[in-house]
Amino acid sequence: MIRFAGVTVTYPDAAAPTLRDVDLHVPEGELCVVLGRTGAGKSTLLGAVNGLVPHFTGGTLAGHVTVDGRDTRTHPPRELADVVGVVGQDPLAGFVTDTLEEELAYGMEQLGLPPDLMRKRVEETLDLLGLADVRGRALADLSGGQQQRAAIGAVLTTHPRVLVLDEPTSALDPTAAEEVLAAITRLVHDLGVTVLVAEHRLERVLQYADRVVHLPGDGTVTSGPPALMMARGVLAPPVVQLGRLAGWDPLPLSVRDARRMAGPLRERLPVPPVVAAPSGAEALRAERLVVRYGDVVAVREVDLRLRGGQVCGLMGRNGAGKSSLLWALQGAGRRSSGTVDVGGRDPAAVGSAAARRLVGLVPQTAADLLYLETVAAELAQADLESHRPAGTADGLLARLLPGVDRGAHPRDLSEGQRLALVLAIQLAAAPGVLLLDEPTRGLDYAAKARLTTILRSLAAEGTAVAVSTHDVEFVASTCDRVVVMAEGEVVADGPTADVVLASPTFAPQVAKVLSPRPWLTVADVADALDLPRPA
């Protein structure tokens, strides 16, 4: 269905080609997962499928990309719209109209389909993706999962044979991600759609894959069946890493496969040592905290304590009140009632310049804090506003992530680099409490591992860290303690193992495989078995 023959892509200003001599064939009806680190060329590969590369982006494409027999040389993206549906990373940014129904119809209007056919297909698609009850809503008012399904629906109405998805679940909580993935697999199974999906969080998609395409980063591409590719030692989710560690053959790709092989390992493993959560001095105490917007109560009488030396994970559905809580703790967001006490001071009462020396917050859209033209200028500004000697923030950035170009425009950095920059800016004020709102969004495995190291070492230096995230694997490897929120209330609070093991939604893969033994990460298992930790 999709065929790359000797494809080399070079962008106008680039010194080296982004894709080099790529041969790839994806047969009809397969779900194909594209792996690779940030910057390895995933977006270019996906963009080349419907001709956005190079028709839209500019650049040189040698070789041939053909989809359903149509060559992208002669067919620009709009001429492939009836064959390939493309869903971008941020669904809201790709919406042309503002209500769900009109958005679903948009593509068909462009193709000039007759109105009665459009009407029928809109209804079908609403049912197929479970969106019928929100049909008349404004797109901006839908939840994240609904928006993502709406974006998929909007390209499905033209009945494309190929669906290309760029990180469809990166912004979603585990449940919403499951809904989206269920919808995608249904398309593959019931309609025979060929799906090409790029995803950093392999643990979510690998089990559904028929084929894995790997971009190692040098412009080449390898592909094969998932089991084979995993055995070759490319990026792998925890369940595969566990399988490699235990030497299982064939390698398990899903929790179910792994559990069936895990009996002997479970027996072999000792009872994990009970690690007491590091308990430093109390750094922040919030009592009966309420945040309400009109009639909506976002945070409902929450009591929370954060201790120095501890990394606390904040989990819960989208809209559970995590962001509102973090913002209220920092003092910059709304607080309707309740108290926050950081070393005897209330961050909301001392003014924002002093507040950031008490509590630092890295917001969800970290780029909102950046307004200067170079990384160096941002760092210098951070020194100024924190009243620190020049070079403080620069040193912090060098420590957090070496090798960030100081002359680059902050908006041109990768997600991981931008996060490190904002973190350095916020840390320049040396706050005793650091809050991060969804920092793992869009990070690849390496960047996430790096973030884990950074947060652990900050905690080791005595900082109290709280991080909201949907990424259960990240929580398992990073947090000492987990707080789960639902409808604005804290519904669970305790050591990571206790909280995540109790919930099927929040349990990491290793825990699911080794349950009832309370192991959370591959690294812990490796340590217990005296084996080297996976890279």
Binding site: V96, A367, Y371, E385
Partner: protein, 370 residues
Amino acid sequence: MSLLPRALHPMAWWVWALGMATAVSRTTNPLLIAVLVAVVGYVVVVRRGDAPWARAFSAYLVLGLVVVLVRVVFNALLGAGVDGHVLFTLPQAGLPGWAKGIHLGGPVLAEEVLAAAYDGLRLAALLCCVGAANALANPKRALRSLPPALYEVGVAVVVALTIAPQLVDSVLRVRRARRLRGASAKGLRALRSIAIPVLEDALSRSLMLAAAMDSRGYGRAGEVPRGLRRATAALVLGGLLGLCLGLYGLLDATAPRVLGLGALAVGIALCAGGLVLGGRRIERTTYRPDPWRRPEWLVAGTGVVCALVMVAASSYDPLLLHPSLYPLRWPDLPLLPLAVVLLGLLPAVAAPLPVRARAAAPVGRVEVAA
């Protein structure tokens, strides 16, 4: 049989409102004008939806009042003041020579004040008609009635209408995020620290949007034959030329009346032809197009009839519609024009009720609302 609630075709509302505006432009009778404003206001109140633009009407009412006041004050201050009933006398002030010997103040005449008020009222009523159309017609649906040749421009406007509210959210978000950096930036930097992230956000969004539109088949223009292109060009350029000549003819007293009007008519026809031909390249369909049925005919027809009758009446007996100021006299309420204006009430029953959004609280967006 009662009509099912639905949105009336926006163009029907515009035709009705412009018809009423044309009707009111032919009279300075304050009683008639007052009745017309009441009629238009009543229709707005009973047939507007709950969308934001439906609240526009009151702003137009205020604007209309301002217009009347400005006219009256100007005329009181600067009236020529020849002869008539003196209401009161303002202190006079001469102006320097460069001001063309204009004198401020002096006796304020009832006739002049009334004339200004009547004229102002007429303009205010015109504004009310326009305001009624703004309040009743859904602007996004109205955009669909643009000729196909203007499709691209229409899409740009649709995109703008979609993104503008998101920008407001974006500004609120960034403004809140500023505090995380201590909000230390003052003055220019403060402006910059809000404007630049919002702008950058919007610009990168535009690129993503463009990619999405391209992938979804936007701009699948059919090939336009050379002949058709030439014909379009000829029509459009000829039409514009005609319009210019026609306008010139209408402004120049020596040009024959027929020439001006004729050139204008030909120009409009050619331009319209050019727009139709130019739209041929767009092969698109519309999802759930707005129907044009009996209610639309009735509403639009009402406007057209009102306009025609008033225009005819004004040329048949101008005095009927313009109350006498010399001698000063209480204006009559002529029967035929009154009946015509009251006919404008028809849409209050002929148009279906608008669909109102169910009172459901929107999900999401809450966290930004701070």
